[in-house]
Symmetry: C2
């Protein structure tokens, strides 16, 4: 129905208002309609605060709510988390019909909210703009469907596919537009991951310029424990966000652990162990920022969902380090190409 | 003056009508104006045919021409070539004023046409849209200013900068839009150049889809004479255009020379010798199509004016051959980036 789509589009717009603040929760939007009039809108504003349905419902009187239709981008929850279940509230509100975009992929929730509503005689329609809703919470959906983090690998390369002009050095390659874009897109992920080599050579902060109460956790893979010799790195000392280190060197745990830094001891040298730990910790999305050796390991372990390449059209010369070189052919889908002044942003996804 | 620019823009548009048919001559356009009215337009239609000035003047009566203003994109010639000098014709036509965009870079002509006009009391204005006019005949201008061909290197690469997925094989990388674009842009050059490896492995035709009486000459660099073992290649047998071979192997001259194929014996193994021969032969522009080894030689000899890269966002894997890798950093200017459906065209120029 065209009307349903119209109101659901409104709800999707509402949902986006929560961007960067819902953290482990998905962005959700809600719209309440009666007699072809929008009576209230709502969204999940902040982790731990009202869900979208409650936010919208709280703006109306019982008379207004009676016999109304609720449009919500994600299936209402039916369990006690930080908030009481939305399904109960909807039933109490005497809403007549509930239109849902995406059925919740979260195992604790899926289908249960809908069942409760139906059991109380509420008319339920699902799947309206489902694809758009799933896209909105892509990482959340992926995480609960696949039991592991969505992994995006990012690299910045020259026209001749070098990440620097000399091995083991840092070369500023891309322009200011790319710099700003990267600092923004970090905020879409729950963790930013680098290898110890990048941490030591670049000494990056890996922060985001986006205002958020949940800056991404900075993760360093340091199997051998090289960071012991580099205790003054920003990632270990700046107090700006959490840093996690994955290592096989137990000295690191003794020496580097503090309020900001958490050290995870690995039993193996396998990336899959890191991935399993991140999944257990509920990290839904990881932005892998470097360098090529680490990125190649992720690629060749078939762990990468998406590649973002920033390309600066200049030659750095053959002495530099090549970008990602997977061991075999790999197609990219859902390609997106964008020009950022004189640089390019090329994005593609990999079926894994 | 705004009016001058307006009419010169018209003349530039006229000039472009001669594209692909003026061959060694530049494209030239002319507009004749009197009392703010365009009385005639003309252009150099075809190599050996009327110059633009003569084309426009031939359309008018002596009365119309008297006291008129001629706009012409390039300085009128003052020497006998395939045509009598245009400067004489202009003087005879009693044109009052001549507005010129670009002063001819050709040593035989430069300034002489203007001098003749002035000597006969004709008012001459130069430099109106000069940059646009020079851009129009970029290769012609470069050739006569630098006494050597303009060299463009083209490559088609994957996201991981491979030209194939296995060394010494041919891999179709780019999409149909790129294929069509390359077949068109070949016609802008007077020669297409490849190495013997590309000629043998790809067996290409190196033709253009553009209708032209002057298809680019196909040039193969084959120092050792490997083509002796591949006499059936399209480039040696198809009769579609001329093929030149540069070699140090005198057997080639004896065995491969025919109506279509001309063999140049090199005294050295240096590219500069090839470049000098091409300059002597009046080849104003060369489009170098492969492969990376040859392109690197051009790059490292500082011979490349422009790089055109077609990029297909897919990974071919580390077993493939890398694209151009110059020995040191090299900036690109006048960058142009264009999307051709899911592929990219990235163009940059190098100061040489």
């Amino acid at each position: 129905m065209e009307k349903d789509q119209y109101y659901m589009k409104l709800a999707l717009q509402e949902a986006k208002k929560g961007r960067f603040q819902t953290w482990k929760n998905p962005m959700v939007g809600a719209v309440i309609v009666k007699n072809d009039q929008v009576l209230a809108t709502g969204h999940h504003i902040h982790y731990g605060k009202n869900h979208a349905e409650r936010d919208a419902i709280s703006k109306l009187t019982p008379e207004q709510l009676f016999n109304s239709t609720l449009y919500v981008t994600l299936e209402p929850c039916n369990h006690y988390g930080k908030q009481p279940p939305c399904s109960d509230l909807i039933v109490q509100s005497k809403i007549k019909r509930v239109v849902i975009a995406q059925v919740d992929p979260h195992k604790l929730v899926t289908g249960k909210g809908i069942a409760k509503l139906k059991a109380h005689g509420i008319e339920v329609t699902t799947g309206v703009l489902a694809k758009e809703a799933e896209e909105l919470n892509r990482f959340y959906s992926y995480f609960y469907q696949n039991n592991r983090s969505w992994i995006t690998v990012k690299q910045a390369v020259s026209l001749d596919y070098r990440v620097n002009d000399q091995v083991n050095t840092r070369t500023a390659i891309t322009n200011h537009s790319v710099y700003e874009r990267v600092h923004q897109e970090r905020a879409d992920y729950q963790a930013i991951l680098v290898g110890s080599n990048t941490a030591i050579i670049d000494n990056p902060s890996l922060l985001t310029t986006v205002q958020t109460d949940y800056p991404p956790i900075r993760i360093i893979i340091d199997r051998r424990g090289r960071l012991l010799q580099h205790k003054d790195l920003k990632l270990l000392t700046d107090g700006q966000a959490q840093t996690w280190i994955f290592t096989q060197n137990s000295e690191l745990k003794k020496n580097l652990t503090n309020n900001q830094v958490k050290v995870w001891l690995m039993k193996t040298d396998q990336l899959t162990e890191v991935i399993q730990t991140l999944a257990r910790e509920g990290i839904q999305s990881v932005y892998v920022e470097g360098g090529p050796t680490l990125a190649n390991a992720f690629m060749n372990d078939q762990l990468v969902n998406k590649v973002i390449e920033y390309l600066s059209p200049q030659f750095l010369g053959k002495a530099g380090t090549a970008g990602i070189l997977p061991s075999s052919r790999m197609a990219l889908k859902n390609l997106k190409i964008e020009q950022l002044s004189n640089n390019l942003r090329i994005v593609g996804e990999i079926d894994v």
